[in-house]
Amino acid sequence: MSAPAAPALAAVQRLRGPNNEGVLALILIGLVVVMSIASPAFFTLSTMFAIVRSSIVPLIFALGVLIVIISGGIDVSFAAIAIFAAYTTVRIAGAGLDLGLAGVFVVALALGAVLGLVNGAVIARFRLPTLIVTLGTQGIFKGALLTYVGSRYIADLPASMASVSTTNVVEISSGGRGAYLHVMAVPAILLCFAVAWMLRRTMFGRGIYAIGGDAEAARRAGFRVVRTQRWIYVLVGMMAAVGGMIYMIMGRSANPQDLVGGEMDIIAAVVLGGASIFGGRGSVLGTALGVLLVQVINNSLILAGVPSAWQRTAVGLLLIIGVGVQAVSAKRSVRRVRANDEEGVAA
């Protein structure tokens, strides 16, 4: 490698970030620029706010999935937990036990924690594959909800939840068109910071990375693997519950048939955001960028007049390309390491 190229290369390396966040951000910016040129309607505050609004619930779910994926697992039951916790809470509050906004969230969080504990207990205790266990619990949670709690669509939420349904945190009306940012963007953003802080600054967070990197090594390093794993799923259950509540608040209704089935889209967004499916790698920033990218693409396709049916294909292609680039570069670096090893042996 020639000398003048080195600093440029280092700058590119720094830009890429630990999990390709830089590349992701560049793609995102590029897409926004192209769309803004192609369609003037795109580069407006109301479009931006609409994209943020549609990202809120996927982002919260994605944060939970991120934690599980960093720990080396995969969770397909979070949507079932979300709908179980939120719908049950609405039923309880609707039955004359409306505890105020904070109260209903506490109820939902408790439900989410219990369901998460079921996952965590089975997975940690018996060391079973997380995909299969959560597949099983997904069926159990959804079946139990529809059998024992209710299967009816509820059109009006309890007063405490309904009161924030139409609250906006930012309202700007310019040129006859208003731009509104839903108040629920605030907890979503706060949650991002909280999870980022937890992952980077607490022993629990470091433990999640350690387990995902190598569970046996984490155990020998003194991390309590079983206990950490259990808490991971409790935490994810609680975050799913928050996502479910916000989903219902923003949708202004409660449908027990919703959400379940959309798990794969969320997992795809997280993986797109640079989290390694093998565990041990991933960041909140990357995840947020991944979720935003998917939503921007969805929005662009609609504006560009492409049938919304192609959304799935676009996300699938993006996932394959994103992961494919990672896989190829990982292969190259393995080859480089091996080449270095051989040099070392020869010397």
């Binding site: 995909l131 266990v133 959804k142 079946g143 089935g261 794969m264 699938g316 992961v323």
Partner: protein, 360 residues
């Protein structure tokens, strides 16, 4: 994956060691679990519902329904088993099956619009095209997994979205009607009281069974899943093995699409959406080790029948499909836990011998 530290040892010794470990795994872990216990589960499930509601459950119509509904799920589950045998997974199978069914239906209707008799004659060609669609889907998966090196769960998660997106865009989300009458006739025919579809299922199961346990490719697939490192040292071309596995899985997906449309002359993008997770349940229940290396086709067939018996039994005793979802989850987790507990007990029982060997 600490093979680099041992690679300084003579290759032969490593090979022998890893090979022994692998043989031990195959012979001790999960062995014969699929067939033995699944047999019991089928009998128990059958007996319970036969005792609870004999007049409904034991009626010939119900028996035929079980036999007609099982094949399409069973064939996809066998394909899933193959992918799991290599330590992978294939989430795109149902999407492939739907694409194959949609292709057949679209081609038939467009030809039949001009010349119905000709469209009818072309039935075998249409079926063949359906299989080709499956093969192409499988080939794309295979390339992504074996060449590009994407983890199977992600590669097939992506292709699942792509194939499904194509199907949705193609059909506009609507259900397509129309397929050759002769195909429908085959779908409704019976041979000595047994539905033709079930016969096809059994034939495919036997074919895949022979492929897995009696051919060099089958042996390589098993070895690849049991221990990729040992497989590499044994000179197995893992790229080619993975490619073949996903090709066969895709082909079986195409077969499932043909079964879809033979049973019911319609095709849509979201048919069998709940099958994606159900077939994983069936494959695991049938004794497939999700980490790879062990599976039996017979076990998967029995698991398919068990779940189908439970489903129709639940209907017979008037339990809802929601309760069936609970039962599925509970059965899956209980069987997994039971496996794990017996496996650990065996390992603990063997440990004294193992430690002695290490000390010696």
């Amino acid at each position: 994956m600490n093979d680099s530290s041992t690679s300084n040892n003579p290759l032969k010794r490593v090979n022998a060691q890893v090979g022994d470990r692998y043989a031990e795994m195959l012979s001790r872990v999960h062995v014969n679990r699929g067939s033995g216990r699944m047999m019991l589960l089928v009998v128990v499930a059958f007996a319970v519902f036969a005792a609870l509601k004999p007049q409904v459950f034991l009626s010939p119509l119900n028996m035929q329904n079980i036999a007609i509904a099982s094949p399409e799920i069973g064939v996809i589950a066998i394909a899933m088993m193959l992918a799991m045998l290599t330590g992978g997974i294939d989430l795109s199978l149902v999407s492939i099956a739907n694409l194959s069914a949609i292709t057949i239906s679209t081609l038939y209707t467009s030809i039949a619009a001009g010349d119905p008799a000709r469209a009818e004659q072309l039935m075998p060609v249409l079926v063949l095209i359906g299989l080709v669609v499956g093969l192409v889907g499988g080939a794309i998966n295979g390339l992504l997994v074996s060449r590009v090196g994407i983890t199977p769960i992600l590669a097939t998660l992506g292709t699942m979205q792509i194939y499904n997106g194509i199907a949705v865009a193609w059909t506009g989300g609507r259900t397509l009607y129309g397929s050759p009458d002769s195909l429908t006739a085959i779908g409704h025919a019976t041979v000595g009281g047994v539905p033709m579809l079930f016969v096809v299922f059994v034939v495919i199961a036997i074919a895949v069974g022979v492929l897995v346990s009696r051919t060099p490719l089958g042996l390589k697939i098993q070895l690849q899943g049991a221990n990729p490192v040992a497989a590499r040292y044994s000179g197995i071309n893992s790229r080619r093995v993975l490619m073949s596995t996903y090709l066969v899985a895709g082909l079986l997906g195409g077969v499932a699409g043909i079964l879809f449309i033979a049973r019911n002359p319609t095709a849509s993008a979201d048919y069998g959406a709940s099958y994606v997770l159900l077939v994983i349940v069936i494959a695991v229940l049938g004794g497939t080790n999700p980490a790879g290396g062990f599976a039996t086709v017979f076990g998967v067939v029995l698991a398919t029948l068990t779940l189908q018996i439970v489903a129709s039994g639940f209907t017979a005793v008037r339990l809802s499909s929601y309760e069936y979802a609970i039962a599925q989850g509970v059965i899956l987790i209980l069987v997994m836990v039971a496996d794990q507990v017996t496996w650990r007990r065996r390992r603990i029982a063997r440990r004294p011998v193992g430690t002695a060997a290490v000390q010696a």
